[in-house]
Symmetry: C2
Subunit: 360 residues, 2 copies
């Protein structure tokens, strides 16, 4: 493995992890009880998605908050135009993302990056491709205000919600200890609570991690082994098989500018640290098969091709056709059970609800 393109201490650290992962992989392949060793190595590297809703920091997930958050998530009237909801770009019917490559927002403007999935997002170390939001309640405030997305303001959102009594009542129920609960912070907290239930347990890989060796077929096991041996798991690990830390895109070899547009320097915009140029949060791979196209630029439509690209630019490895297929088979085992969501009936606008605004 040829190591090139190092830029700072941070990537070096990550590349060291890559090597460690490779070392673990050697240990797997040389042992006698290979199947048991593979499962044991997998268990050390990944964690199953729980079947219960996870706790959220500083935001107890209550039924009332989830119900409110669901309505807000599906309500297009939190956008200036009245036609873009959270679900427009994070469509729960298509893996929690949109059609891509990048999202279309207010005024038919195209956003700079692919919409990340909301499914299992609660398990990520931070939100957005560059991790600029520490949690989902912080994330939820972003797209509403972005001129290229919903183009609204916190004031407009609060005016909209206050204009419909059913929403006011639901905020009071969701935040029972607050005198004036209809706030932009609580709007975001309710959405975070709803998103916390958007977890997808019971994927074949989860069943495997929980001890059912038959939950993966031979090809998927071969893919899992390759995924760890080749070094993919050094960035894509933990409960979300990624989404836990930040890494340079193009650690070994610079991707083409269509995959890695020059103007988008990733986490550098957040930290202003030179070593964070073109650094992104590793993509969480849960349900990855459900949501092409791939990468923050959304330029790769085939999962197999995405695997090939990543091996090459992150690990300096040219995978063969069978190896790519095996890894894709493993990635298919990451598709879990999506929650059943009843489409919410929303409160009706009133004479005091701000009118839709399609302009700038």
């Amino acid at each position: 493995m040829k190591l090139i393109g190092r830029k700072s201490a941070v990537p070096v650290l990550r590349l060291a992890r890559t090597l460690r992962a490779a070392a673990v992989a050697i240990l797997i392949s040389s042992s006698a009880g290979a199947d048991d060793d593979l499962m044991e190595a997998a268990r050390q590297t990944f964690k199953p998605i729980p079947s219960v809703v996870p706790a959220v920091k500083d935001n107890p997930v209550t039924h009332e908050k989830v119900e409110l958050g669901k309505m807000l998530f599906f309500d297009p009237r939190v956008s200036a135009s009245g036609i873009i909801s959270c679900n427009t770009c994070h469509n729960l019917g298509t893996g929690g993302v949109d059609a891509g490559p990048t999202s279309v927002g207010h005024g038919w403007q195209r956003g700079p990056r692919r919409a990340p999935t909301v499914y299992n997002a609660v398990f990520n170390v931070a939100q957005f491709w560059d991790g600029r939001a520490a949690d989902l309640k912080t994330q939820a405030k972003g797209p509403v205000q972005a001129s290229v997305e919903m183009n609204a303001t916190p004031d407009r959102v609060i005016s909209t919600l206050n204009s419909m009594n059913d929403y006011v009542v639901m905020f009071k129920k969701a935040f029972p200890n607050e005198v004036a609960p209809v706030t932009f912070d609580n709007f975001a907290r309710a959405i975070e609570a709803f998103e916390a239930i958007l977890i997808t347990p019971a994927a074949p890989f989860d069943q495997y991690l929980e001890g059912n060796t038959n939950a993966l077929d031979d090809q998927q096991k071969a893919g899992l082994k390759l995924f760890m041996e080749t070094g993919c798991a050094s960035c894509h690990n933990g409960i979300n098989v990624g989404g836990q830390d930040y890494f340079p895109f193009g650690a070994i070899k610079k991707p083409s500018t269509s995959l890695l547009p020059i103007a988008d320097k990733g986490r550098f915009a957040v930290t202003k640290v030179a070593g964070d140029e073109y650094v992104f949060r590793s993509a969480p791979l849960r349900n990855v098969a459900l949501r092409p196209p791939y990468f923050h630029s959304g330029q790769v439509w085939s999962l197999k091709r995405a695997v090939g690209v990543m091996a090459e630019v992150q690990l300096g490895v040219k995978l063969g056709d069978k190896e790519e297929n095996d890894i894709v088979a493993f990635l298919n085992s990451l598709t879990g059970q999506l929650p059943k969501i009843e489409y919410p009936i929303l409160p009706t606008r009133t004479d005091t609800t701000p009118l839709p605004s399609l302009g700038k």
Copy 2:
């Protein structure tokens, strides 16, 4: 009542009906058992929404067809951009319509008319504001192809559906007797079948029509009486309290050009009969309180104001404040029970699915 603005034999016929309705109303108010008479007159004029899914002409409504139709209704990938679904403009969470005034489609283009509701649309005499589609299966083919809406083609839709095996399997199940069931006709039939279940029974007014005199309060009964006496019911009658026939908008007095834009001559575009200039299908008023703004131009945001305008331009009557409030109270009794819809998980695109296309 002053009768002006007659243009052809057709409006004359309709105005005659208006007078007949007024005559019926006089009968109501002069009788002794006024409550019984009101209910009897209402039963002669309206019909309750059934609690069972209605039969659809030439298109048996089967479970398999409804499930497929639901997916198609919510699938944004039947649009060229990949982000506009039927539900974008006929949002089931907001009364089956969008935020208005008129719909926003491909390229952020604004359509010429307000989206009509899909709820109970199966009971309308024909579809669209001008009735140019005889039924919902014909209607369903329109917006998909309209450049200002989804901007797709039948070929593109069929390529998209054929590219995802889950859809092919569902078409086979929904149309079990067909050798090659993935057709644009069947796409439309499945959507029609889904829309046939979008009925909203058990409104207070339905309960009233079924004999429960207490289902309406006194103000709502006063509003109902006024609705029939004033002549509203001469156009807004039947099961959908409208949607059964065509009438000139501005029968007595021409509305302002913001409400009735000069360029949109309504049903004239369909029939080319001079008398059909500015003729529209009477708006079905079921759940009307759920879906401001009003009229095909979507320019009136208040239901009370809409009532006032209609009395003036259609019937030459200037209603008082209390009368408008009473009629609005009656219209509120038309809000039924909306069906619970589980948001569908859609098939995942494949390498052969047409790419999203945002341009012209």
